[in-house]
């Protein structure tokens, strides 16, 4: 267990606790502050995962900009009446609680499915179509990058240089070598050692992982549609908020 792991779990614990406190706090100012704490701790978790840019973006955008405005507005309002409104039992409250429960169930279900899918894949029993493109079954012994980092986390022994036997065993475990009993030539052996070494030493294969260049390249080429779609969604949300505020009964209703 490295310091990174310890820190990751500590931050995860704080994140969960602060997220719970957001909901269970009666004082809206504290709720907003705990949400800000939750966002910052999520950023810190990205730091421990070596994703520096994502971490910093998380802190700047959510904790540093969005939540500051929330906290500011919440502090200015007298929200006592609102909190009483929420605590009162009514059909609307029931609907709210049900919706929240539905979302929780959905999240738990998806994450559970995701975990089983990764586990199945690592065990070599992958069901076609259950995983994302990144976790596809390796072809011709070529290991996708995501698998490399996953299995490197799993192996306890992080030797700097693996022997051919170890390398073969490791690759078999990952389903990289289609014929485990087949004898390999010396050249192929050397290749295997190289691959497994890259797999084993955690620092090297992820040198560019999480850097701005890698991230922006992925964001503006492979995921450009998703990226643009999300920004369009945000625009719709802003227009919707303005429209709601200006509609009849809204805070900025005109004439």
């Amino acid at each position: 267990m490295t310091i990174d792991d310890i820190l990751f779990h500590a931050f995860a614990f704080v994140a969960v606790i602060s997220a719970l406190l957001v909901i269970f706090n009666k004082n809206p100012v504290y709720s907003a502050l705990f949400l800000a704490l939750c966002m910052s701790v999520l950023g810190a978790m990205f730091f421990t995962l070596n994703a520096y840019f994502v971490a910093v973006a998380q802190i700047t955008v959510y904790a540093g900009a969005v939540m500051v405005l929330f906290v500011m507005v919440v502090m200015l309002f007298d929200l006592k009446r609102e909190s009483e409104e929420i605590l009162k039992f009514s059909p609307v409250t029931t609907a709210k609680v049900l919706a929240a429960a539905l979302l929780c169930g959905f999240l738990v279900g998806t994450s559970w499915l995701g975990v089983t899918a990764v586990k199945d894949h690592l065990a070599g029993q992958v069901a076609p179509g259950t995983l994302s493109a990144d976790l596809e079954k390796p072809i011709d012994g070529k290991i996708p990058k995501s698998i490399i980092s996953l299995s490197a986390e799993d192996s306890d022994e992080s030797t700097i240089k693996a022997t051919p036997e170890e390398a073969r065993e490791l690759l078999n475990k990952m389903g990289g070598n289609p014929n485990p009993d087949e004898d390999l030539t010396a050249a192929e052996d050397a290749k295997l050692v190289e691959k497994a070494t890259a797999t084993e030493s955690k620092g090297e294969p992820i040198e560019e992982f999480g850097s701005t260049v890698t991230l922006s390249r992925a964001l503006f080429s492979k995921f450009v549609f998703a990226f643009e779609a999300v920004s369009a969604l945000l625009l719709v949300a802003i227009v919707g908020a303005v429209a709601l505020a200006r509609s009849k009964g809204g805070t900025h209703h005109v004439g």
Binding site: L33, A36, Y52, V56, A57, I59, T60, L69, M72, K202
Partner: protein, 400 residues
Amino acid sequence: MSGWAKLWIGTDMGNGLLEIIVNTIKIALIFFAVVSTVPLLVWVERRGSAFMQNRLGPNRVGPLGLLQLAADAVKFIFKEPFVPDAADKVLYFMAPAMCLLPAMLTFAAIPLSTPFTVMGHTFKMQVADINVGIIYIFAVASLGVYGILAAGWSSANKYSLLGALRASSQMISYEVAMGLSIIGILMKYKTFDLTKMIWAQTGPFNFIWQGHIIQPLSWLPNWGIFFQPLAFILFFTAGFAETNRLPFDLPEGEAELVAGYHTEYGGFKFNMFFMGEYGHMMTSSALITILFFGGYALPWSGGGPVQVQEFWMSHSSWLSQVIPLATGEAASVLAMLTHLICFSIKMGFFLFVYIWVRWTLPRFRYDQLMDLGWKTMLPWSLANLGATTALLFFARYNPL
């Protein structure tokens, strides 16, 4: 590798005992360095302001009034702590720490000098070497607003709340202009890494225009300010607003707001706000040094840090007699000290300018402050960004 060595050196980053111990010491050192520079700055501020205004300033305690710092510190600690009756106790006590912490955290990413090697171990003069250092500093600095808001709200005082609102809206407004002003220079350096920025500024003034290296003025150092003078002015101005100092110290106003968000704070809790403000000032000066003035690299030193290292290496014959280290290691330590002094001088100059401006310019009105931030500085930084982008596009376009 034996078990003990594995534990000591570690197999991975953040794994070895040595690295953990060294980092812990570094964190403590940086914290105490920043905190103990604050009294010195206060002394410069008080004596300096006195000389600028043809007064004497505090000159009774110790030589040149230097022990006034100690007297102030003692007073801060021994003052009676009080809490307003209607205050929200938890946030009231947390707010000073929430203010001080981000200021200290930002300083962690500042590279103070070149790395040095002792007994085969290389130590970086930086707590956290993050490859997105500059955005990290912006991100953590933006968390400082929470402390101010919490202080204003929890004090249960209208003046405090209004002061907190002023301070936070001012900080948010100027963050925009501040962030936009440096994008141009980041595009020029092609990196977010503060150390790489310093290395990009070594050597004489030169740039690449369509595949040709152009070196018009070889006596000028290759500093960022000569490429982005407007960005420097905008960044420096926004720095004053971010630290809530004159001429932008609107959160405090004796006549309208008493002392703003820290009206209800006294003793050591007030001192923590104070140290937070000076911590922000120091980070801001360090950033200006790194972004626009070559960081720790000596100007006119040719190859920059490499040249300094080579200079000390060439004196290795007598170095090894004076310093009980291997010659290469002694040279690296001396190069580190040289760069540290260089960095301190540059940073100290900007700290002095902060103090100088405070006692020279009158303060703005609040609407003037907002006008300056949104209607003047934001358009100028956007224009600077657009112009830089176009210029860089043509400069990097290679017709060959």
